[in-house]
Symmetry: C2
């Protein structure tokens, strides 16, 4: 894969993380080396063990807490951890063809990563690496920097009808 | 999974099939029984062998050709094959928790399945089965019948820039 592109899956609809999972699976089917990293996921989804079975490397940054879900957390300390995670990813992504950063937009939206830091991270990416960023509310400058942007738009969402998130479907 | 819902992934953006693949993977991670059926895919995507590795059952209806890509094909014969495929799915889906019909909307859009036939198929589904339909241009009555609808909207698409579909990413 020369000239790896930057993908963004954003919007309020279902399918951002699962589309990234599906792309990881597809790439493995073509013997690509895939790294799947996650932020802001306290509960590991059903997909993670399956991705490991397919030799997708998983990196779960559980120490990078969301200030949205942990309002009392020390933002400065969290920012340091988030920037450390990006640093780590920058170093190891050279060994992969496809790198997913699941819920990356959450980091940006809640001030753990500043927009210019996110842009600098993308600029540093090795030319051959394909990157996938997911999360609601992708900011304009990131959309500008990306090649491949899909908005997952909720037309109908059962959570609005009071149906709770279900194991194996929503997580 | 009681009260299986009906999902639709539609729109012109990337991520409809991959979101269905990701959902299949997630459901397998929770030991759900998953059937993944495909229409209109002459070339098997990289994901299919991987799904089989995870014990997802694959059903590829390659004999149901697209009249869009095969303009000389006999529409009546194709319709018969498409309806036969739905009949077969109706029978075997009782043995699954999650059933994907990839590119189902293509069947409807190109006249292989009429809207009322599609609705009758959905009405027949066992209550416990969760169904996922993908494809562009989902018609209103199908959206009406579904519980969970996401529009994948192309905000930026590299194919518009003349970049060709690439193995491991687009298929």
């Amino acid at each position: 894969m020369k000239n790896g592109l930057i993908h963004i899956y954003t919007g309020d609809g279902k399918g951002k993380t699962t589309a990234a999972v599906g792309l990881a699976v597809r790439a493995r089917g073509r013997a690509k080396r895939v790294l799947f990293s996650q932020f802001m996921k306290a509960v590991t989804g059903g997909e993670i063990a399956m991705l490991e079975k397919l030799q997708v490397r998983i990196l779960s940054f559980k120490e990078v807490l969301s200030p949205y879900f942990h309002p009392g957390a020390d933002l400065g300390a969290l920012r340091e951890k988030a920037l450390g995670a990006l640093e780590q990813l920058s170093v190891i992504m050279t060994g992969y063809d496809l790198v997913v950063l699941d819920e990356f937009m959450h980091l940006v939206r809640h001030g753990l990563i500043m927009e210019d830091e996110a842009l600098a991270f993308l600029k540093r990416k090795p030319a051959a690496v394909e990157i996938v960023l997911t999360g609601r509310d992708a900011p304009g400058p990131l959309i500008e920097a990306a090649d491949y942007v899909t908005e997952m738009k909720a037309i109908k969402h059962p959570l609005n009808k009071g149906i709770k998130a279900r194991e194996g479907i929503e997580f």
